[in-house]
Symmetry: D2
Subunit: 338 residues, 4 copies
Amino acid sequence: MSNTMRQWRLPQFGRRHLQLEQVAIPTPADDEILVKVAAAALNYRDKLNIEDGSGGLQITPPLVPASDLSGAVVATGKRVTRFRTGDRVLGTFWADWIDGPWPAHALTLGGPLTGALADYVVLKQEWAVHAPATLDDIHASTLPCAALSAWFALVEQGHLHAGQTVVIQGTGGVSLFGLQFAAAHGAHVIVLSGDDDKLARAKELGATHAVNRRKTPRWDVAVRDLTAGRGADHVLEMVGGDNLLLSLQALKQAGRLSVIGTLGEAEIHSPSVPLFLGRPTIQGIGVGHRRGLEDMIRAVDHLGLKPVVDKVYALEELPDALDHLERGPFGKLVMRMD
Amino acid sequence: MSNTMRQWRLPQFGRRHLQLEQVAIPTPADDEILVKVAAAALNYRDKLNIEDGSGGLQITPPLVPASDLSGAVVATGKRVTRFRTGDRVLGTFWADWIDGPWPAHALTLGGPLTGALADYVVLKQEWAVHAPATLDDIHASTLPCAALSAWFALVEQGHLHAGQTVVIQGTGGVSLFGLQFAAAHGAHVIVLSGDDDKLARAKELGATHAVNRRKTPRWDVAVRDLTAGRGADHVLEMVGGDNLLLSLQALKQAGRLSVIGTLGEAEIHSPSVPLFLGRPTIQGIGVGHRRGLEDMIRAVDHLGLKPVVDKVYALEELPDALDHLERGPFGKLVMRMD
Amino acid sequence: MSNTMRQWRLPQFGRRHLQLEQVAIPTPADDEILVKVAAAALNYRDKLNIEDGSGGLQITPPLVPASDLSGAVVATGKRVTRFRTGDRVLGTFWADWIDGPWPAHALTLGGPLTGALADYVVLKQEWAVHAPATLDDIHASTLPCAALSAWFALVEQGHLHAGQTVVIQGTGGVSLFGLQFAAAHGAHVIVLSGDDDKLARAKELGATHAVNRRKTPRWDVAVRDLTAGRGADHVLEMVGGDNLLLSLQALKQAGRLSVIGTLGEAEIHSPSVPLFLGRPTIQGIGVGHRRGLEDMIRAVDHLGLKPVVDKVYALEELPDALDHLERGPFGKLVMRMD
Amino acid sequence: MSNTMRQWRLPQFGRRHLQLEQVAIPTPADDEILVKVAAAALNYRDKLNIEDGSGGLQITPPLVPASDLSGAVVATGKRVTRFRTGDRVLGTFWADWIDGPWPAHALTLGGPLTGALADYVVLKQEWAVHAPATLDDIHASTLPCAALSAWFALVEQGHLHAGQTVVIQGTGGVSLFGLQFAAAHGAHVIVLSGDDDKLARAKELGATHAVNRRKTPRWDVAVRDLTAGRGADHVLEMVGGDNLLLSLQALKQAGRLSVIGTLGEAEIHSPSVPLFLGRPTIQGIGVGHRRGLEDMIRAVDHLGLKPVVDKVYALEELPDALDHLERGPFGKLVMRMD
């Protein structure tokens, strides 16, 4: 291999500053692996981080964006025990969140840590997992952030089971993974969107019911009707603002509402009475830990679950991909490296 | 309707004492419902209770056996609010275990409380639930004990999810429900039996792997092999005796082993080292509560899950049915009332 | 005993309509007990219900207010098995919430069900528990709503343990129970109040730290400082409005915030980023179930925990007590019946 | 400091082979710390490992025994971020069990990894935690195995709370920590021992009741009597063999029994009926993870909990200490290094 590689670098905030540079391929330290990146999936957080660093953690440019990558190990440091050259891997969204509660020192790839929009990345061996056997690199790259967020909300923390009802808001990456995981566990899935075409495609993916939220602004009432008055067991809140109240009202007594970042609205608010009268559990979801990712990958392989990729872009087409991200894809957008 | 009905009555322990009597149809008190029984499913516990009362709780004859019934409400006491005449219902195995930990005062139908082997039964309104919409009476009658035991072990307490591995021992009623629920949640299912024909039928029901325990006495090693060395997440222990050690050895670190009564062997034993080295959770399962039954019925309806009924007997054929129960059915045996 | 008794009755919303009437002592039905009320504790919810029915559930006058009572069983219906004449009892705040998730049909005493501001009340046997052995009637009457709310938030759902940090907002009834339960489990307790005198009394009750929220408006920063940067494990949110953001910021990663009704502010709001970045669990608390109340009573007896009663009023002094409730007591206000 | 240090080394199994050698002080690698050991606490497992390696994991001599150490960091590798020279630390019993379920690759100090019976040890930075501020080195050294086993059983997994009843078997190290933690959470503690003197000392440490198991062989009945028939919420099983049945019978419905290694008896056995009728959760406890240790240390510091040390031995007195371990100490035995 050559000694240099391509890498998208952001010297200061703002999309116009993005530069596709040619840089030296990094060398792994003793406990690191060098990964030849095959694909990197984009998240809305990447757009925010590029624009002004508002995607979550404190970030200072320069920055290599994007957190989600699939690829193959091409070199290993001398103390690496988890992987061998040739292994197909995924990066973990969080570096050093292994299991249990999130440790305060954990950081994320794509800001502040060096991200995936490059031909090669160096990762500590603890920041990677074996890729699923049943997915190609393009599809596998979508799992570390979007899929794990949905899995963590519904399965790891939500203990979803058959016969429950899950409300999915929208048809972006997290939402469609939520739909697929819920359907795979035998749950009723009610999908909300303002677009009938997207609703039709959601039903093909396994949604039991589709509600057009433009035509049915009181979708909470629709959810009650569809559940014989009980309300939903789980709601994935992807919007924020006034929508939180509708989500609370759509929830059954002691139901679970997952607030998954980054929401469309910067604020959430609600009257306080539904909060204690409905006894909900509201859980903030910030992706999830490595053990959860490994559990989920076993599920993906066993289920034969196929992530929904809206479009694949070549690495140099990043500006087009970011435009698409802003318009709102159906499922995921993926950058391929060659 | 006539004023009398048929009822199997056991004036003293021992199968030969069973009598099919003609007795008065009972009258419901204020908070009771009168149910025209359509079907009653048998459990191994019923055989033990008939023989010597050893099916669990302390029982003194006379006794009307059998705990699991489906039927229709034909009369209601004046303070009944949960049901109306005509409602299709199931009895709950436990009277007065509504939710949470089992309360010490709860009793079971079919001993010590009056059981289901009759044309009519009177139940407190709290001891019944609405029948599933998708099942006929014969199949619905199998749910209160066998299905709920499997559901409680795997779902209510076990938080089973997709990608996990479940070991199912045998092909009786509880085992096949365990198989079906696990498959419906996207789990790998490994079924053990000594009979290749039963194993083949188990695979048709959704088992991922079938292991003949006669040909593979070290089935724990087989489970390790089938799980890339990890071991199973859940094991349903249905045998007892020395088998417990194999179950512990088949379990992954911190896996969950459910001991479901009534076991084949009256004793369990194990070396103690695997108990603390493997950090298992061993949970005793004694069926489950009413809220769990209602959750499960919603799952059965949504999944379209069809219980496996080996054979249906007319009420007067009870002796034949008990013989069959002793031989070991594939799934459930059901008595029909007309 | 005479055939009549005193009872505060509200024929229409508004404090000025409250009437102390002389009415017939009710007769228990078959599954009911007649309780000679010794004391009834007031909650802020009672004030709201009296003014306009805004204390939670839908209420239509006429109404007998107050949910929390202690007393003695003086008569039992013929099917009562849980109590005998002479037993000291407490009412449960929720009628028919026994265990597990709250059932949709459960109602509360003091609106819509007949409340405790009377010399006698009739309760279904399921709506009462045995009183703690170590408390007199005045103190025992404070447990069903305020104490159980705090217990449910911190212990039943919060799994509080020694070494954790709990932030308590204010010094009303729920807050002081939260303080006492947290201290009794070996937790650090940080109490917030705008009144130095109340803070001093809170420290006497076991608070580790006291923060004057008027002098330290950024009390979230103070909590971080007091916890070496970690943040609190549990926060009891009693205020609402903008305060929610401070509570979220005071919480450790994956901490637990209990929203306990009725909040001072009718709205809650927050920027959305702390919600997913901090991964909190926000749980709405609407008192709790009967099994939790029984667990808590065992704890109260074993700990020798003494509820804080600010003042005891005679039944006819209800207007004075409601004035006091509006000013904000330190702990609980109790009406005594004779 | 000199270049050499003392170290107990076992070239082959058997106590008589133990040698106190003078060896070179090791040098920490990049991610390691060098700890000057101040004290090492002994566990019964150490005795088994010395005799024949039967303390749990597969061990091959040569071996440096003992897992539990306290000391000070005297040198750090260049990539160490968790500690600085001078920090007081404890080793973790398990190397690389950080949180969540135990990972299969984790190993223990004192076999197979190099143990603590030496003047210095090298640890990966991930294998150590900050020592409690309120304990001296002798007492702090007792925490990593015995205290964490009790904490993990009762608090981390058992969610112990005030008002519950805990049965403690014996008065060894784990047992007395269990007693102290349970009392600190406001629980009733029933201690069993065959020695009245030890029982008296257990009551001084906070036990509510003491039962002499020689004089009261049916101690399960005694536990029922002391709990008004309910049974215990938690039982720490330290014996094995036939004792398991008594433990199950002493447990309340759906209670929790912790099997903590190494048991006195190499087998456990029980009739199977109590297992499913009582619906217990039996959990194997193999110490616990680092996050639990850190939680516990915060509790120890806040509670001012003082571990019970029966006797302190100088490093060269190991044979005497092992004799004492075999006789059964009251609490812990500790080796001091200077």
